[in-house]
C-alpha cells in the first residue's frame, strides 16, 4: 500500500503541472478573432472534403489482437523467469524448463504459423 501513495501523489502533481502550463499559455498568448477559415482542420491548404472517418484496413485490428495474445503469453514468462533460479537451486531446473518448454513450443508454433500464413504481411 505504501508504494501506491507516492505514485498517486506524483500523478496528481504532474497533472496539475500540465494544467498550469496550458492555463499559462492561454493567459499569455495573443487573442485574435476566430474565423471559420482559421479554425478549420489543416489539410495542406485545400478545403476539407470528407470527415475523418474513412475506411481503415482491417490489418490494424488484426495486428492489435495478435499483439494482445502474444502479450499475454509474454507476461506469463515473467513469473517463470523470476522463479527460474530458485527452481534450479532446489534441483528442479529441468522440470521448470520443460514446463515452460511446452508453452514456448506452442508460442513458437503460433508465431511461425502467423508468419507463414502471411497474416503479418503488409502490402
Amino acid at each position: 500500500m505504501y508504494q501506491l501513495v507516492p505514485v498517486l501523489a506524483l500523478s496528481v502533481f504532474v497533472a496539475l503541472f500540465g494544467l498550469l502550463l496550458v492555463f499559462l499559455a492561454s493567459r499569455f498568448g495573443p487573442r485574435t478573432k476566430p474565423s471559420a477559415v482559421k479554425q478549420s482542420s489543416y489539410e495542406c491548404g485545400l478545403e476539407v472534403e470528407k470527415s475523418t472517418t474513412t475506411k481503415i484496413p482491417i490489418k490494424y485490428y488484426l495486428t492489435a489482437i495478435l499483439f494482445i495474445l502474444f502479450d499475454i503469453e509474454i507476461i506469463f514468462m515473467y513469473p517463470w523467469a523470476l522463479a527460474f533460479g530458485d527452481f534450479i537451486q532446489a534441483g528442479h531446473g529441468l522440470y521448470i524448463f520443460s514446463a515452460m518448454g511446452v508453452f514456448l513450443a506452442i508460442f513458437v508454433f503460433g508465431l511461425f504459423w502467423e508468419i507463414k500464413s502471411r497474416a503479418l504481411d503488409w502490402d
Binding site: 502533481f13 509474454i74 502467423e114 508468419i115
Partner: protein, 386 residues
C-alpha cells in the same frame, strides 16, 4: 512515504525534483539535437542567442508560452486539451521508479529542538517491488495520449498518425517485453535496485556449477545478454517514435502526425513526453546492461570510505557518494541519449511494411531465440552437476 513530516516532505520534494529534472532536460536535449544534427550535416545550428546558442532554450520556452491558443473548430475540446497532459504522465511516473544513485543514509540530528532521523533516502522517486512490470505497464499507457490527440483533432493526418503510432508501439512492445525476459532469467528479480546491486565488482558467473571470475571486466548485464541489449535498444527506438521509426510523424506523408493541430506549449508537452521516454529508455538500458549507477570495479563502500577518510561526517560522506554515483549514472545515460540523436540524423526512415516486418518477423523471433538460449545456458551453468 515516511514516518514524520520532514521525511514525507523531503520524499515529495525529491519526486518533484526528479520530474522537473526530466522536464528541464528537454530543452537541453533539443539543443543537443539541433547542434548535433548541425554537426552531422556539416552546418552551424543555433549559435546566435547566448554562448553556443544555449540561451536559445530560454527563448524557445518563452515563445512556446506566448503562442496564440488554437483549437480547431470541429475538434473535441476536452480531449484536445487532455491529450498533452496525458502525454506527460507515463514518462514521469516511469522515470521516478528507476534508481538514479545510491541511497543516502542520514544520521539522527537535532533541529528545532527535536531529534530527527535516522533516515534512509532512496535516490529515486519511489522503490516499487515489481519495478520492471510497473515501468512496462505505465509506459504502455503512453499510447493513449497519441490516440486521444489524433482523434480529438478531427484531422485525417492526425488520425492516421495516431493509428500508425499505436500499431507500431504495440508491435514493438512484444520484442521489448521478450528481451526483458532474458534479463529476468539472469538476475531473477523485478526490482531495479537489486538488479543494480548484482552488477558490482568484476565479471563473475557460474560455469557448470563452478564460480568463475574474470577480473578485467565489470559485472555488467551486457556480457550476459548481448543479443537482448541490441533488441531492447531497437525496440525502445520504436517505442519512442523516433527516427528511423518515426512514421507517425513522417512529415512528407502526414504533415506532423498526431500533433498536426497542436501548437505552442501543448505541442511542447508532447515533446516533453517523447524526450521523457527517451530518458526512461536510456535509464533502462543503463540499469539492465551497464551496471546502473555503479562505477566499474569500485564499490559504493569504497567511495564512502574515501570521503570519510577526508574528514567528512557519515551523513556528508553518504551524500557525496550518492552525488558521485549519480554523476556516473548520468554520464552513462548521456551516451545513450547521444546515440538517440546520432541515429536520428544518420538513418533514413523505414517504409511501413518494412517496419512491421522488422518488428514481427525479425525481432520477435530473435527475442524468442534469445529467451530460449538464455534459459538453456542458465539451466546448464547453474545446475550443480554432481
Amino acid at each position: 512515504m515516511g514516518t514524520d513530516i520532514l521525511e514525507i516532505s523531503i520524499n515529495f520534494a525529491k519526486m518533484v525534483a526528479i520530474f522537473l529534472l526530466m522536464v528541464q532536460l528537454v530543452p537541453l536535449l533539443v539543443w543537443v539535437e539541433r547542434r548535433g544534427s548541425a554537426l552531422i550535416q556539416n552546418r552551424l545550428g543555433p549559435n546566435r542567442v547566448g554562448p553556443l546558442g544555449l540561451t536559445q532554450l530560454l527563448a524557445d520556452a518563452v515563445k512556446f508560452l506566448t503562442k496564440e491558443e488554437f483549437v480547431p473548430a470541429k475538434s473535441h475540446r476536452f480531449l484536445f486539451y487532455l491529450a498533452p497532459i496525458v502525454a506527460l504522465l507515463p514518462a514521469a511516473v516511469a522515470f521516478n521508479a528507476i534508481p538514479l544513485s545510491h541511497p543516502i543514509e542520514v544520521e539522527a540530528f537535532e533541529w528545532l529542538g527535536h531529534t530527527w532521523g535516522p533516515y534512509t533516502f532512496l535516490f529515486q522517486g519511489y522503490e516499487i517491488g515489481i519495478g520492471i512490470v510497473f515501468v512496462l505497464g505505465v509506459s504502455s499507457l503512453a499510447a493513449y495520449a497519441l490516440l486521444l490527440a489524433g482523434w480529438a483533432s478531427d484531422n485525417k493526418y492526425s488520425l492516421i498518425g495516431a493509428l500508425r503510432a499505436s500499431a507500431q508501439m504495440i508491435s514493438y512492445e512484444l520484442a521489448l517485453g521478450l528481451s526483458i525476459v532474458g534479463i529476468l532469467l539472469v538476475f531473477n528479480t523485478f526490482s531495479f535496485s537489486e538488479m543494480v546491486s548484482q552488477q558490482v565488482g568484476p565479471l563473475s558467473f557460474m560455469f557448470f556449477g563452478q564460480e568463475v571470475s574474470i577480473p578485467f571486466l565489470p559485472n555488467w548485464g551486457i556480457f550476459f545478454q548481448p543479443l537482448g541489449a541490441i533488441l531492447l535498444l531497437a525496440a525502445v527506438f520504436a517505442e519512442t517514435n523516433r527516427l528511423p521509426f518515426d512514421l507517425p510523424e513522417a512529415e512528407a506523408e502526414l504533415v506532423a502526425g498526431y500533433h498536426t493541430e497542436y501548437g505552442g506549449i501543448k505541442m511542447n508537452m508532447f515533446y516533453i513526453g517523447e524526450y521523457g521516454h527517451m530518458l526512461v529508455a536510456s535509464a533502462l538500458m543503463v540499469t539492465f546492461y551497464f551496471g546502473g549507477y555503479h562505477i566499474p570495479f569500485i564499490t559504493p563502500d569504497q567511495i564512502n570510505e574515501f570521503f570519510s577518510g577526508r574528514g567528512h561526517g557519515a551523513t556528508q560522506a553518504s551524500l557525496l557518494t550518492a552525488l558521485v554515483l549519480h554523476l556516473s549514472f548520468f554520464a552513462k545515460i548521456a551516451v545513450f541519449l547521444w546515440v538517440f540523436v546520432w541515429v536520428r540524423w544518420t538513418l533514413p526512415r523505414f517504409r511501413y511494411d518494412q517496419l512491421m516486418d522488422l518488428g514481427w518477423k525479425t525481432m520477435l523471433p530473435w527475442a524468442l531465440a534469445n529467451t530460449i538460449i538464455t534459459a538453456i545456458l542458465v539451466l546448464m551453468m547453474r545446475s550443480s552437476w554432481s
